[in-house]
Amino acid sequence: MKEFLKGNYKLKNVVKETAASEPSSTDEFEKKALSRLGGSICFVSKKGFLWKGEDRKADGSRQTDR
């Protein structure tokens, strides 16, 4: 922000600007957690239960393309 704002006075103390992209401790925790937690097989949202390829796209008993 300091490249856009200029004052007509000088501060006695130096103000350290927090980097906007610096993650919070919670963000950092969650980022680490996500790399360690998770399942043994993926779940793909909005897709069917079984995909048999283009030739046999009607996949078994599934009625809707999830």
């Binding site: 996500l34 790399s35 937690l37 993926c42 779940f43 995909w51 048999k52 996949d59 999830r66």
Partner: protein, 335 residues
């Protein structure tokens, strides 16, 4: 939203990061052993009628004595068990028609089939710490030896639905025990997306891709209705949570949560009512995600699903609860 639910909401992508690499490596290693597609199971007689029981290894399985009760019922429909419940089934006198194995982890999963080279209890406390199979946790070497004998004795009567991601050692163990294997690919990502891993895998081996819902229990349920075309499915041992009073250190992801969050680790656990037993259970982010995914998938499944686990946190409009005997009384002409 609390910490546990926030983590759970982001585990779809995280699971891909966690398992895709090793899963694809295992698929390449398993390739020479792949002979049959899981689709061929549709023509194999696996129990009578249009119903199935899917057996998971949650704590309710032994707390409710579900295997013994299933045996006593003389149920003649299809029995599908996850790999971690195989020992409990065989010790209880129930030989599943189909056992499902998914996890690409290369050491732990072999224990569910009996690990031939186990001479001493391993340093890792995974089996001792969890309630997945208490028998295996008490005297690991003797229990492992007994499990090897059981799996070898009943292997030729069973079939295995094995993901191409499964550890090659598990595949070798099934082969040695005479368990006929039927293969499928885990659906890793959107097969319609550019550079889809699922599509590339399908093009490489021609096997169907199955949307597994995050865990082997859900994958077994998907197989029961989408592959075996079962229309009435009862679940046992599918808890997705922990009974009240379970110490946090005896939960599956405790080491990871403790390491990541330090003293804050308990904030990641989520309390959930278990109405069948009128108790408040709790779950962790991964199991909470499994639960939500299952409830979502159940809404569009072409099958009726009844949770006969008699505990746990899996319940909703598409997954009603019932006592095991009450469900069994409604299937296969028993009404």
């Amino acid at each position: 939203m609390d910490l546990g639910r926030r983590i759970a909401s982001r585990l779809e992508a995280a699971t891909f990061e966690r398992i895709a690499g090793v899963g694809l490596e295992n698929a390449a290693l398993n390739r020479p052993r792949i002979e049959r597609s899981i689709l061929e199971l549709a023509d194999v007689p696996l129990g009578e009628g249009d119903s199935a029981i899917v057996i998971g290894a949650g704590p309710s399985l032994h707390r409710r004595d579900s295997v013994a009760r299933l045996r006593k019922s003389r149920y003649t429909g299809t029995i599908v068990a996850v790999d971690s419940a195989l020992g409990a089934c065989l010790r209880g006198g129930v030989v599943p028609h189909l056992v499902v194995s998914v996890d690409p982890q290369r050491e732990r999963i072999l224990r569910w089939f009996g690990r031939p080279a186990l001479a001493a209890a391993p340093a890792e406390d995974y089996l001792r710490r969890l309630e997945l199979d208490p028998t295996l946790a008490t005297n690991e070497v003797a229990a492992n030896r007994a499990l090897i004998a059981l799996v070898d004795a009943h292997g030729p009567r069973m079939r295995a639905a094995v993901a191409t991601a499964a550890a090659p050692a598990v595949v070798a163990r099934c082969e040695a025990a005479g368990i006929a294997m039927y293969w499928w690919n885990p659906m890793y990502d959107d097969y319609d997306a550019p550079d889809s891993v699922s599509r590339r895998l399908y093009e490489a081996n021609g096997l169907p891709c199955l949307n597994g819902g995050g865990n082997v229990g859900t994958a077994a349920w998907v197989i029961a209705h989408a592959v075996l075309a079962k229309r009435r499915i009862g679940l046992v041992g599918i808890d997705f949570g922990y009974p009240p009073g379970t110490p946090y250190e005896r939960t599956q992801y405790y080491p990871e949560l403790r390491e990541m969050f330090g003293e804050r680790y308990a904030e990641a656990f989520i309390p959930v009512e278990s109405p069948f037993v009128a108790e408040q259970w709790f779950t962790d982010p991964a199991y909470y995600w499994f639960r939500n995914v299952f409830l979502d998938m159940a809404q569009t499944a072409d099958a009726t699903t009844v949770n006969c686990t008699e505990g746990g946190v899996l319940h909703g409009p598409a997954v009603p609860l019932a006592r095991l005997e009450d469900f069994l009384a409604t299937v296969d002409g028993r009404e």
